[in-house]
């Protein structure tokens, strides 16, 4: 009846997952109870769960990403402390079986359910605003994408409480991940969670390619698009090009595990190394899917806080697209040790080194953007400058790893671990925190507290280096990755130092939480009244904070690069806003519960397939199909926002801008 599922799936004997699960379940029940007691359900359902507004979906992606970031960070703390506590005779506090699940969950969660949702959160929130349009190309599909990602995250977290997670690393290499060597449900949890969220990501990619290429406001030609939108386009193109590879590869492994196929097995002619090639043909572009939008975030921040247009905008576009293409030609450097031969390894070593050229162009452009500018050392700017320092070092260790003979010595060592954390934390995570600080007022109407933000940056920056410098050194001394127990006594000081770094990072994370709480308490003092708190340059700053659900009362007509900067300068010169436009009624898409329905059935299907409950999987698929048909049958697709409502919102915006203009004129009067 219930396939492989019975009471033994609940890990009663293991205190760590049991206590964590109980706490998580209590927290969830508490939140649900609070929501029910306060009567917030109708509001949540109407305004958030069924919302097809790209800004709301962006915020929900962000929330999901932050929650999973905390979960992944908890795994990281356990790994660092276990290694420091299991040297020589000591065994630490984690069993090998459990430790293997933790490092697998850490990587899976951080890449698929923390970094990806957070990057897509920014793409969702910003791209339509920067393009001067009212929504993405397919608003309802966007909601489906989000809920499918959430469904994948849910499955990973269920594995904590029911059954187990994979012990095979964040990419389940066969033959270890085959049914013969991993007979449990861990790898199945991985496969279905990643597969379901991967489909969501693919839909996001399709949506954003179409949005950027087909939905720009009048006058927004390609070379007038803000840099973040360019990088979002490049990232979406990569998603469309490589996520299907992930889908196909995991499907092959699934067939091996469920039906005894022989794609990657040791026997009957299977080819395990084919898995490595396929998975990295997705996996290497994946890191650029994450880091390109991060580069876009930094570009916007450097230009805004230097008070200058981005230096070398066109070379930045070219470098982005160069990286986008070359990203798909370097995958083999993840397994130089496969033994493909000197010629193949050399070719991939060269392509890997060449991709650093595109990144180098970007680094110089950012530095020259600051050069000669009036740099404001705000919190986003601190993260960005910390990024340049950190990322350049991470990039250089990467070039070192790109040299095949050197790679043979450092392959799968802690040096590699330090390198990719160096680029992903220093590149992607720093960008996410910088962007959070930068665009928070646009989403919520008030800025974040400056002092706590600076404290968070310094703790994170120093903590990062104290954590990972020792790992670089340990790697060069020969320590391999994923060790549950360390035999060599001499490594103790460095492992302990690394734990000190983690402690500093924890303080940084606490600062972030305090910053959020303090900012909410002081929101009236931090209120952004004009909608342009940082003296911004692109169109999102032309809207009030928070932006109305239709974004723009009248679609802007772009007449040059840096669309909003031009409008603003004209207003300052003439001391008045452009004449009031004629307001017209706006058509907006209606909300739809199809996203959350689809995700519900996807979660049930995934869970049923993991536990081999075939009837339930079939039932859920039929339910999903019925949901689609009902959705396709709907009569009403759009609703009309009356012209008076549009006028009311926009007149309030104009009044705020006029007041700001008057304040500026007055300030100049007293200065001169």
């Amino acid at each position: 009846m219930f396939g492989k599922l019975d009471w033994s799936a609940i890990p009663i004997t293991q205190p760590i997952p049991m206590i964590t699960s109980v706490v998580i379940i209590l927290v969830i029940l508490g939140v649900l109870g609070l929501v029910a007691a306060k009567g917030w359900w109708p509001y949540l359902w109407r305004e958030w769960i069924t919302s097809v507004d790209h800004k709301r979906i962006g915020v929900m992606y962000g929330l999901l990403g932050v929650v999973m970031l905390i979960r992944g960070f908890a795994d990281a703390i356990m790994m660092r402390t276990q290694q420091a506590a299991a040297i020589g005779g000591a065994q630490g506090y984690l069993e090998p079986e459990h430790y293997n699940q933790i490092f697998s969950a850490h990587g899976t969660i951080m890449i698929f359910f923390a970094a990806m949702p957070l990057v897509i959160a920014f793409m969702n929130f910003l791209v339509p605003l920067q393009l001067g349009v009212r929504d993405v190309a397919f608003p309802t599909l966007n909601s489906v994408s989000f809920w499918l990602t959430a469904s994948g995250a849910l499955l990973v977290n269920i594995s904590l409480f029911v059954g187990e997670f994979a012990r095979t690393g964040w990419l389940p290499y066969p033959p270890l991940s085959e049914g013969t060597y991993s007979p449990g449900v861990g790898v199945d949890y991985y496969l279905w969670a990643v597969q379901i969220s991967g489909i969501g990501t693919l839909m996001t990619g399709i949506n954003f390619v179409t949005t950027v290429l087909k939905m720009r406001c009048p006058g927004m030609s390609y070379l007038r698009m803000p840099m973040f939108t360019w990088t979002a386009l490049a990232s979406s193109l990569l998603i469309v090009a490589v996520f299907p590879i992930l889908t196909a590869t995991l499907a092959m492994l699934t067939l091996d595990r469920y039906f005894g196929f022989h794609f990657f097995t040791n026997d009957a002619g299977g080819a395990p190394m084919m898995f490595m090639n396929l998975i990295w043909a997705w996996g290497h572009p994946e890191v650029y899917i994450l880091v390109l939008p991060a580069f876009g975030i930094f570009s916007e921040i450097f230009s805004t806080f230097s008070g200058k247009p981005l230096f070398g905008y066109r070379s930045m576009v070219a470098a982005t697209l160069f990286i986008c293409i070359v990203a798909m030609m370097t995958w083999l450097h993840h397994f130089f040790t496969m033994g493909a031969g000197a010629a193949v390894n050399t070719a991939f070593g060269i392509s890997t080194s060449i991709i650093a050229v595109g990144t180098g162009v970007k680094i110089y452009n950012w530095i020259f953007t600051m050069y000669g500018g009036r740099v404001r050392m705000t919190v986003p700017m601190l993260w960005s400058m910390g990024f340049i320092f950190t990322f350049v070092i991470g990039g250089m260790t990467g070039v070192l790893l790109a040299v095949p003979p050197a790679d043979f010595l450092t392959h799968n060592s802690m040096f590699l671990v330090a390198h990719f954390h160096n680029v992903i934390v220093g590149g992607v995570v720093f960008a996410l925190f910088a962007g959070l600080e930068f665009w928070f007022p646009k989403a919520f109407g008030f800025r974040l507290h400056e002092g706590w933000g600076k404290a968070a940056f310094w703790f994170a920056f120093i903590g990062f280096w104290v954590t990972f410098t020792p790992l670089y050194i340990l790697g060069l001394q020969g320590m391999t990755r994923r060790l549950q127990h360390v035999n060599i006594e001499e490594w103790r000081p460095m492992l302990l130092l690394s734990v000190v770094g983690v402690a500093i990072l924890v303080v940084g994370a606490i600062c972030q939480v305090i910053q959020l709480v303090v900012s909410i308490l002081q929101r009236d003092r931090l209120r952004d009244t004009t909608g342009d708190p940082w003296d911004g340059r692109s169109l999102e700053w032309a809207t009030p904070s928070p932006a109305p659900f239709f974004n723009f009362a009248v679609m802007p007509n772009v007449e040059g690069e840096e669309a909003y900067w031009g409008i603003k300068q004209r207003a300052i010169e003439t001391q008045q806003l452009a004449p009031e436009p004629k307001y017209e009624a706006i058509e907006m898409p209606v909300n739809s519960p199809v996203g959350v329905y689809t995700a519900f059935f996807a979660s049930v299907t995934g869970f049923a397939l993991i536990w081999h409950i075939w009837w339930l999987a079939a039932l859920a698929l039929i339910g999903a199909y019925a949901g689609f048909v009902v959705f396709a049958w709907r009569e009403v697709h759009e609703f009309e926002v009356p012209a008076e409502e549009v006028a009311r919102v926009d007149r309030a915006r104009r009044a705020a801008r006029e007041a700001a203009l008057a304040r500026m004129a007055q300030a100049e009067g007293t200065a001169s």
Partner: protein, 231 residues
């Protein structure tokens, strides 16, 4: 929606926008701006262009997925583990009928859209039904092939080659089957709702999907069956 001036009458613009042979053309000259075509400086594209374009991107991603199964087949083609090879399992007459049915179904699918273009519901439905029937013939023959092979012991569990064979061919067959389910749903929708905008947009997408499956089948037929029979 946009405040771009309309150089020509609204009806002319709409006619132009909805004419499939003109979509994507003619927006490059300054004299010939087509609001809604979505390139360059003219503002967002019309819903029809956006839907079709997005679906094209999806099809590209689907073809990338097929390319992985093709690649796996190419790698594992010789890995027969002492079992049957491609030459032993190819039955060209049957696969010839399959191919004929599928290509013919693409033709009837095209005819259905010709009927859609002149908003003729009866003929649209007739040709869609023919398309479904031919699709059914194709899937039926493929199933028959699989069952016969399995009865001879050539199951996907036998060797890596057979795993790759069943997965590549079966993935295409699964696409055709899901396409058939979609087709049936579309016929019901068309019958109840008539040629509303969104129904026509979906019919465009269905046409694109069905033709793309044909293109993939040409690849499968050449690489698996023709090259297999010649090997």
């Amino acid at each position: 929606m946009t405040d771009v001036p309309f150089p020509i009458s609204r009806e002319a613009v709409l006619r132009r926008r909805e004419d499939p042979s003109l979509i994507g053309h003619g927006a490059h000259g300054p004299r010939d701006i087509v609001p809604g075509a979505g390139h360059g400086e003219t503002g967002p594209a019309s819903k029809r262009v956006i839907v079709g374009y997005g679906f094209w991107i999806f099809l590209l991603s689907d073809i990338v997925m097929f390319s992985c199964f093709f690649a796996a087949y190419a790698v594992l083609q010789g890995a027969t583990a002492g079992g049957p090879s491609a030459r032993d399992i190819v039955d060209l007459p049957r696969v010839g009928i399959e191919t004929g049915a599928l290509l013919l179904s693409s033709f009837t699918c095209g005819l259905s859209f010709a009927a859609t273009n002149v908003r003729n519901k009866l003929w649209t439905q007739v040709f869609l039904a023919l398309t479904a029937l031919l699709g059914l013939v194709f899937v039926g023959l493929e199933l028959q092939e699989f069952i016969e092979l399995a009865a001879r012991g050539a199951t996907p569990q036998r060797s890596a080659f057979l795993s790759a064979f069943y997965t590549l061919v079966g993935c295409h067959g699964l696409h055709v089957s899901i396409g058939g389910l979609w087709l049936a749903t579309m016929m019901a929708q068309l019958q109840v709702k008539g040629f509303r905008h969104e129904i026509v947009h979906r019919l465009i997408c269905f046409n694109l999907f069905w033709h793309a499956l044909d293109i993939v089948w040409v690849g499968v037929f050449s690489m698996v069956y023709l090259m297999g029979a010649a090997a």
